[in-house]
């Protein structure tokens, strides 16, 4: 799964720690999400979408071969 978390975060000048705080996860989780090592659960994806005021598919894109 691809995602635009890093870009969206950078656009808002947020640190990984700030985004982690906002999503109630650890900074390590944000890093793992941004580097594509970890895919979020549906509730976490919804939370991110709500935080950025975007649709889930505007942040996360499914890739069949990943």
């Amino acid at each position: 799964m691809k995602n635009r978390l890093k870009v969206l975060r950078a656009e808002r000048d947020w640190t990984q720690a700030q985004l982690a705080d906002a999503l109630e996860v650890s900074r390590q989780t944000i890093n793992a999400l941004e580097t594509g090592k970890f895919d979020p659960s549906l509730p976490l994806a919804f939370k991110a979408a709500r935080l950025f005021n975007l649709a889930i598919e505007d942040i996360f894109q499914y890739e069949a071969d990943s």
């Binding site: 705080d21 109630e24 890093n31």
Partner: protein, 152 residues
């Protein structure tokens, strides 16, 4: 327009900051609670193990009470451990799950083979349960370190 959207985002960030502080505090409380239950369990284990020899000369009633206290506190520790795990974020839960699966598998496979070694007369001493506990703990710790490194 863009400023308005940024203001809204900042408001949302401030609100979620308060929520996340509660999340962080709750996690710290869960960790402290687990540490206290673990310490209590260790104390009751020591009492149940050494009390009969050192404190009450194998008297039946205090020995049974010691064991019951040990089991009761052990269940309390399990509950605290479950709550601690449920309070962690989803990546840490995944790392924990993988580490536990690995530790349990290792305990089952190596534990049974180890027990078999005496039956088939490869070793002359009786396998101790403590050896198995140490193996499971070391496997769990190694798997946790590997999991944390994997998702770093």
């Amino acid at each position: 327009m863009l400023t308005l959207q940024k203001d809204n985002l900042n408001k949302l960030m401030n609100k979620t900051k308060t929520d996340s502080s509660a999340w962080t505090t709750r996690n710290k409380e869960n960790t402290i609670r687990l540490a206290l239950w673990t310490a209590a369990w260790l104390v009751t284990t020591a009492i149940a193990a050494f009390g009969p020899k050192v404190l009450w000369d194998f008297s039946t009633v205090p020995t049974i009470l010691g064991v019951l206290a040990n089991v009761g506190v052990g269940f309390g520790m399990m509950g605290a451990s479950k709550r601690h795990l449920q309070g962690q974020d989803e990546l840490m839960q995944k790392i924990q799950l993988e580490a536990m699966a690995f530790a349990m598998g290792m305990g089952l496979v190596i534990g049974l083979s180890y027990e078999l070694l005496e039956d088939i007369r490869i070793i002359s001493f009786e396998p101790e349960i403590s050896h198995l506990v140490i193996l499971v703990c070391l496997t769990y710790m190694a798997a946790m370190v590997a999991g944390i490194r994997k998702y770093r």
